[in-house]
């Protein structure tokens, strides 16, 4: 196969926070693929019965698993908000440099607030 240049020439870009928002979108997306595995594991445990679900939830309530769950909540919140930004871009809006820099901050702040709101609601419900 002929060797051709491939698209993400990561090393040629000067690092800016707008670049970080793009990288983080891919990173959180990949993390959510793993999260999907966790979700299906939990669904299978529920389907296998009360004992299997209790076993799965003992595993999921370990400190490390709780930290991972919080990280997955952030990944979902970030990917959701950043995804909306991408869908707006796809309509041809918000592509000017100043606009995309503003929306980068908005994505960062909104996703952190959304994460905290979800975690607080889970905490308040006493479910974790």
């Amino acid at each position: 196969m002929p060797s051709r240049p491939l698209s993400p020439h990561l090393s040629v870009y000067k690092f800016k926070y707008t670049l970080a928002t793009s990288i983080l979108n891919r990173f959180t997306g990949s993390a959510l693929s793993l999260g999907l595995l966790g979700l299906v594991y939990w669904l299978m445990a529920v389907a296998a019965g009360a004992a299997a679900q209790a076993r799965a939830q003992r595993l999921l309530s370990l400190p490390f698993a709780k930290l991972a769950a919080a990280a997955f909540v952030f990944a979902l919140a970030y990917h959701l908000v950043a995804g909306i930004r991408h869908l707006v871009w796809d309509t041809g809006r918000g592509l000017e440099r100043a606009q995309s820099q503003r929306s980068a901050w908005a994505v960062g702040i909104l996703s952190v607030l959304l994460t905290l709101a979800i975690l607080a609601a889970l905490w308040h419900g006493g479910a974790t």
Partner: protein, 128 residues
């Protein structure tokens, strides 16, 4: 009339002959996942507890079972589309790339099937 040069035809380079199908599916699935993921998070937060009886009675409702199946199916679809691009971008070497794409594709079909099976089993009263 072909507009490609003879050299290009011999090298076999050019478009992947897929047009914008992948790009469009990524957008469609993301659009569907916006309400589905919000519904999923809100439902989990609204659950009074995560014990087997509560979770089973939630998943046993036709509406939540249907939405959960859609969430798992469209979520795995979106995940597969996303990981495909990441593999194509960052995994060089035709052999490794093809192998990774095949394995990731199989894994997603397996995860989607397992998730749907689990939800249906619970919804049809098969969880002991």
């Amino acid at each position: 009339m072909r507009l490609t040069s003879p050299l290009r035809q011999v090298l076999g380079t050019g478009s992947a002959k897929e047009g914008v199908r992948h790009w469009w599916l990524q957008r469609l699935t993301s659009l569907a996942l916006l309400p589905l993921s919000i519904w999923f998070v809100v439902s989990l937060v609204a659950l009074p507890a995560f014990d087997h009886a509560t979770v089973v009675s939630w998943m046993g409702q036709s509406c939540s079972a249907l939405l959960l199946i859609l969430f798992v199916l469209i979520g795995t679809w979106h995940s597969q589309l996303g990981l495909k691009v990441i593999i194509e971008d960052y995994l060089h070497g035709a052999g490794a790339k093809t192998l990774a794409l095949v394995l990731v594709g199989f894994a997603h079909v397996l995860i989607a099937s397992a998730g749907v099976f689990a939800v249906l089993k619970v919804a049809f009263g098969g969880a002991p």
